[in-house]
C-alpha cells in the first residue's frame, strides 16, 4: 500500500513534464516491449497496521523457549541494555560504508576500536573490520594462506560441521583441497595431523573449544604446523578467549571465529559477525575492510579505510577477496558489548559459563546422561542418551526448555550465564523423569 514515494500524482506529472515526457512508461522506453511486465502476481500492499498484525502472527508461530541449553555455534547470552541502544542508533543503522571519511569519523573510529578489541582478545597484531560469520571467516582465512604451491588445508573434524561444509564449498572453485584430520577421544588427533602434513599444506585449521566443547591442544597443533612451514588458523569462541589462552599465546598465525556471543541476538542464525585477525607479516593478505589511523591537513588525528589496494573495487580479479559489504553494525555492537563488560566482565561471563556447564554436566550425569568425553571443556559437552534423543528433547520442549542438540552418539549440551541454578536443576529433574 505504501512505497515510501513522497511525491503526489500531480507532482509526478509536473516532474515528467519538466523532463519533456507525458507518461510514466516513457521513462522505460529502453526496455524492449516484450520484456515489460503488465503487473506482478503479488497481493496488494499492506498498511502499517496490517503489516504489524501479519508479522506478529508469523513471529508467534515460533516457540520462544523459557530456558535454552543448546549452543552448537549460536549462544544465548545476556545483552546489556546499553549495547542494544547503541545497535539501534538510527544514524549508525542508516549510514553506508565509510568511503567519505571526513563525514564518517564516528563509524571509522568505532571500527578502529573494534579492531583494537579483537586484536587484544585474540592476542593478534591486526584485525579486519569483520566478515560475514565464523564459517566464512575460516574460509577466507584458508583462501588468504593458500598459494600456487601450497593448495591443501588440513581441517580438524572438531571444527563446526557447518564451517567444514562452507570450507568445502569455497574450496571447490579455486581448487583448494580440504583434508579432514580425524579426532581421537573428541579432540584433534595430533599424531594423525603430523602424519598428514606435507609440503603442499598451506595451513591447519583447528577450533577450540571444538564442536564438542572440548579445549584443544592448539599450541601443539601450531608447533606441528610450523615444523612444516604451514600456518595455523585457530577458530575460537570469543567469550572463551577472555579466559583461556588466546590464539596469539597459542602460536596461531590467523585467529577467526563467530562473534555472535559478543552481544548479538540469536535471530535464527543471523545477522552475526565473523572476526578475523592475524600476525603482522600476514597483514597485507588479510581480506575485507580495514581502518587505519591517519591525520588530516591540520594534523588532527583521524581514521580512514586503508590498505585498499587489497580490495575488489581497486584490484578487481586480483583482489584478496570479493568481500564488499560486511557486518559493520554487528561489529559495532560487539565493540559496545566488550566495552560494557570490560575485561573483568567478559572473563566473568566466561567463568560463569564454564561453571554452569560443569554443574549441568554433573546434574545430568546424576540422572543418567553420561558424558562422552573426558578432559577440559568450556561451556558445551556431549552426553550419551539411553533413549531416542528426540523423545527426550520433545518432553523438555513441552516444559518450555530447549534441550541440547542431537549429535552422533548422544546430545550436545550448552550452558551460559543465562541459565540459573534453578533452571539447571529443573532440566536435570525433567530429564530424570523422562528417562525413568
Amino acid at each position: 500500500m505504501g512505497s515510501y514515494v513522497p511525491s503526489t500524482e500531480e507532482e509526478r506529472l509536473e516532474m515528467l513534464r519538466a523532463i519533456g515526457l507525458e507518461r510514466m512508461d516513457e521513462l522505460f522506453a529502453s526496455v524492449p516491449e516484450p520484456l515489460r511486465v503488465e503487473t506482478l502476481n503479488l497481493d496488494r500492499g499492506l498498511s502499517e497496521l496490517e503489516l504489524q498484525r501479519e508479522m506478529r502472527y508469523i513471529a508467534g508461530r515460533n516457540r520462544v523457549f523459557r530456558s535454552i541449553f543448546r549452543g552448537a555455534g549460536a549462544y544465548n547470552h545476556y545483552i546489556p541494555a546499553v549495547v542494544k541502544s547503541v545497535a539501534a542508533k538510527e544514524r549508525f543503522l542508516t549510514t553506508y560504508t565509510p568511503y567519505q571519511a571526513e563525514l564518517s569519523q564516528g563509524v571509522l573510529q568505532s571500527i578502529f576500536e573494534y579492531q583494537t578489541m579483537i586484536a587484544e582478545l585474540t592476542g593478534m597484531d591486526a584485525s579486519n573490520a569483520s566478515v560475514y560469520d565464523g564459517a566464512t571467516a575460516a574460509a577466507e582465512a584458508v583462501n588468504m594462506l593458500v598459494d600456487g604451491k601450497r593448495r591443501v588445508a588440513l581441517v580438524s573434524e572438531g571444527v563446526h560441521p557447518m564451517t567444514i561444509e562452507t570450507l568445502k564449498t569455497y574450496a571447490d572453485g579455486p581448487g583448494v583441497e580440504i583434508r579432514l584430520v580425524p579426532l581421537k577421544d573428541g579432540r584433534t588427533d595430533l599424531d594423525a595431523l603430523k602424519g598428514m602434513l606435507c609440503d603442499s599444506c598451506a595451513c591447519v585449521l583447528v577450533q577450540s573449544p571444538n564442536f564438542f566443547g572440548l579445549i584443544e591442544d592448539a599450541e601443539a597443533a601450531a608447533n606441528i604446523a610450523h615444523e612444516r612451514r604451514a600456518k595455523l588458523i585457530l577458530s575460537m569462541n570469543p567469550t572463551a578467549c577472555a579466559l583461556y589462552k588466546s590464539p596469539g599465546e597459542l602460536g596461531a598465525d590467523v585467529a577467526v571465529g563467530e562473534g555472535q556471543p559478543l552481544g548479538l541476538p540469536l535471530s535464527f542464525g543471523g545477522a552475526y559477525l565473523g572476526f578475523m585477525a592475524c600476525k603482522a607479516p600476514l597483514l597485507r593478505k588479510l581480506p575485507g575492510r580495514i581502518v587505519g589511523r591517519t591525520t588530516d591537513r591540520d594534523g588532527k588525528r583521524a581514521f580512514v579505510l586503508t590498505l585498499q589496494a587489497r580490495e575488489q573495487h581497486i584490484r578487481r580479479e586480483k583482489a584478496s577477496s570479493n568481500i564488499c559489504s560486511n557486518q559493520a553494525l554487528c561489529a559495532m555492537t560487539a565493540a559496545a558489548y566488550m566495552a560494557a563488560l570490560g575485561a573483568s566482565g567478559l572473563t566473568e561471563v566466561a567463568s560463569q559459563c564454564h561453571a554452569k556447564a560443569a554443574y549441568l554436566r554433573e546434574k545430568l550425569a546424576e540422572v543418567g546422561l553420561k558424558p562422552i568425553h573426558e578432559g577440559e571443556f568450556f561451556h558445551e559437552f556431549a552426553t550419551e542418551c539411553p533413549i531416542d534423543p528426540e523423545k527426550l528433547l520433545c518432553a523438555l520442549a513441552d516444559r518450555g526448555i530447549l534441550g541440547g542438540l542431537p549429535v552422533e552418539g548422544g546430545i550436545l549440551w550448552c550452558a551460559t550465564e543465562m541459565n540459573s541454578r534453578e533452571d539447571i536443576d529443573e532440566v536435570a529433574a525433567a530429564v530424570g523423569e523422562v528417562l525413568q
Binding site: P32, L40, L307
Partner: protein
C-alpha cells in the same frame, strides 16, 4: 575525540551479572591466558555518551540526501526494525528445530515466493550474506551445472568493463578466468566483441542491467542468446534492480541466475557497511544445485530440505535472517503496485535531477537515464583544476552525502548519482541547486573547493600515509 581506551579508568565497570549461583569450576592454570585483554573500563554513562558522540560524527539516510550511486540509499522504514526485533524472531535459536521455528521458515518461504515473482526465477536461497557473497554462490552454481553435464572445459567468465569490482573478484574466487568485454561508445555491451569471446570455454556472463552507467541495455535478449548459444549461462547482478522493480524481470531477459541486494532494493539499512543480504534466484535448471536448507511447504508445515546435487553451504545457518525479516516486511508493504511505484519513482527522480544539472554538468551518456546517472567532470578538471573529488567534498559541506566517485572506471572524473524514489522534489531541487552553485564556485574560486570539506570534524585526510605506515589498532 578520545578513543574508548583513552577514557578507560581501571576498576570502572557496569553491574550486569548476578553472583555465581553454582559451585566454581576452576580452569587448570596452564590453560589460562596470561594477561587480561586490555578492554575499556568505563561507566555506563560514559559509554553511552561515547557512542552518542560517535553518532554525531556520522551521516545517515536519516540526516539528508544520500545520492550514492549503485548503493540505493533509500529510506529505511522504521516498522521493519520493529518487526526484526520481535521476540519470536530475535530469540529463535537457529537449531531449535523446524517444528518450533515455523514462523522463521514461513518468513524464508514467503520471501522466496515474492522474489521468485519479482525476478522471474524458479527458486531462491537466502544463504548469501551480501551481494558479493551471492555472486560467488551464483558462479559456483554455474560451475556445478557445467560439471554435472560433463562439460569440464568452461573456465572463463565474460564481464563487461563497466561491471562492479566484485564481479571479477568473485569470478576469481570461483576459480574462473575473467574475460573483460568492452563497452561501446554508447555504454552498451559490444555485441561483436561478445560474439568473439563467447565459445566452448565460456562458463557464463555476468551483467548488470541497467548497467553502472545507468543505461538499460536494449540488446539484452540478444546478449543472453549469444551466451546461451555458446553453451554458457547468464548471471544477473541485481545491484541495480531498483530501476526495473515491477517493470521488467531478469528471468524474462534470459538470465539463469541472479543475486539481489536486500540492503539496496528492499530497503534494509546499510549499517555502516553491513549486514546486508544477497539472496540468489535461479531458473529450474540450477535448482538442484542450491545450498542446503531450502524451505518447502507440505500440508501446512514448512520444512527444510537439501537439493539433490547441492553445492553445500556458503555460510553457517540460513543467511542474515534478521535482514530477510525486514525485507519481507517491506515487500508485504509494497505489494505489486508499490513495487512498480518504486521503479517509476526512482527513474523519475534520477531523470528530473539530471535534467536540472545538464548542460552545466556533462553527462557520461546523453538522453534519459534509468535510476542513476553518471557525470563526467573531465572537462571541468582540465579547465579549472576542480576534480570530481573536490565537487563531492563540496557537496558534503552543503549538507548531503557525496555521490559515488571515480566509478564506473570507464568514465573519467566520474560522479555517479542515484537519488532513489524516496526523495521529494524539493530535496532534488535543493541538491541540484547546490551542485550548480559548486560549479559556479569552481570557475570563480576553485581553491575553496580544493579545501572542502570544512564543515566536518576533520578535513581531508592523508590516505597515502595511512596505507604506507599502517596503524590499525590503538597503541597502548
Amino acid at each position: 575525540m578520545k578513543l574508548l581506551f583513552e577514557k578507560s579508568v581501571p576498576g570502572r565497570a557496569l553491574s550486569i551479572l548476578p553472583p555465581l549461583d553454582v559451585p566454581e569450576a576452576p580452569v587448570p592454570e596452564n590453560l589460562l591466558r596470561a594477561e587480561k585483554p586490555r578492554l575499556p573500563e568505563i561507566s555506563e554513562n560514559d559509554l553511552s555518551r561515547h557512542y552518542a558522540a560517535l553518532e554525531r560524527r556520522a551521516f545517515g539516510v536519516c540526516d539528508g540526501f544520500y545520492p550514492l550511486g549503485s548503493c540505493t540509499m533509500k529510506y529505511n522504514p522504521k516498522v521493519n526494525e520493529q518487526m526484526a526485533a520481535l521476540d519470536g524472531f530475535a530469540r529463535a535459536h537457529p537449531l531449535q528445530g523446524e517444528q518450533y521455528a515455523q514462523g522463521c521458515l514461513e518468513v524464508l518461504f514467503r520471501a522466496e515466493q515474492i522474489l521468485k515473482e519479482v525476478t522471474g526465477m524458479d527458486a531462491v536461497t537466502f544463504q548469501p550474506a551480501a551481494g558479493a557473497h551471492g555472486e560467488l554462490l551464483g558462479l559456483l552454481l554455474i560451475n556445478a551445472y557445467h560439471r554435472d553435464r560433463g562439460d569440464t572445459k568452461r573456465k572463463k567468465v565474460l564481464v563487461p568493463d563497466s561491471a562492479h569490482g566484485t564481479n571479477p573478484a568473485s569470478a576469481t574466487m570461483a576459480g574462473l578466468e575473467v574475460i573483460s568485454i568492452p563497452s561501446t561508445a554508447s555504454g552498451r555491451v559490444d555485441l561483436e566483441a561478445l560474439k568473439r569471446a563467447a565459445g566452448e570455454d565460456t562458463a557464463g556472463l555476468m551483467l548488470t542491467n541497467p548497467n553502472t552507467l545507468g543505461i538499460f541495455d536494449e540488446n539484452i535478449q540478444e546478449i543472453t542468446r549469444i551466451v546461451h548459444d555458446a553453451g554458457g549461462l547468464c548471471y544477473y547482478d541485481g545491484a541495480n534492480l531498483n530501476a526495473i522493480l515491477g517493470v521488467a524481470r531478469p528471468g524474462d531477459m534470459g538470465f539463469d541466475v541472479v543475486h539481489l541486494n536486500l540492503h539496496k532494493t528492499f530497503s534494509t539499512p546499510h549499517g555502516g557497511g553491513g549486514p546486508g543480504s544477497g539472496p540468489v534466484g535461479v531458473k529450474a535448471i540450477l535448482k538442484d544445485f542450491l545450498p542446503r536448507d531450502q524451505v518447502a511447504k507440505t500440508d501446512d508445515m514448512f520444512r527444510f530440505f537439501d537439493p539433490p546435487k547441492s553445492v553445500g553451504r556458503v555460510k553457517a545457518f540460513y543467511g542474515n535472517f534478521s535482514v530477510v525479516v525486514r525485507a519481507l516486511s517491506y515487500m508485504l508493504t509494497l505489494g505489486a503496485e508499490g513495487m512498480r511505484e518504486v521503479a517509476e519513482g526512482a527513474v523519475l527522480n534520477a531523470n528530473y535531477m539530471l535534467k536540472k544539472l545538464v548542460p552545466a554538468y556533462e553527462p557520461a551518456q546523453p538522453g534519459l537515464c534509468m535510476h542513476e546517472f553518471v557525470l563526467t567532470l573531465e572537462k571541468l578538471k582540465a579547465e579549472t583544476g576542480v576534480s570530481a573529488l573536490d565537487v563531492a567534498k563540496a557537496m558534503v559541506d552543503r549538507g548531503m552525502h557525496a555521490p559515488t566517485m571515480y566509478f564506473p572506471l570507464i568514465v573519467h572524473e566520474a560522479l555517479m548519482v542515484e537519488p532513489t524514489e524516496t526523495e521529494s522534489r524539493e530535496t532534488l531541487d535543493e541538491a541540484a541547486e547546490a551542485m550548480l552553485d559548486i560549479l559556479r564556485l569552481a570557475r570563480e574560486d576553485p581553491q575553496k573547493l580544493h579545501d572542502a570539506p570544512v564543515t566536518t570534524p576533520v578535513n581531508r585526510l592523508d590516505e597515502v600515509g595511512a596505507a604506507r605506515n599502517p596503524v590499525l589498532r590503538y597503541q597502548f
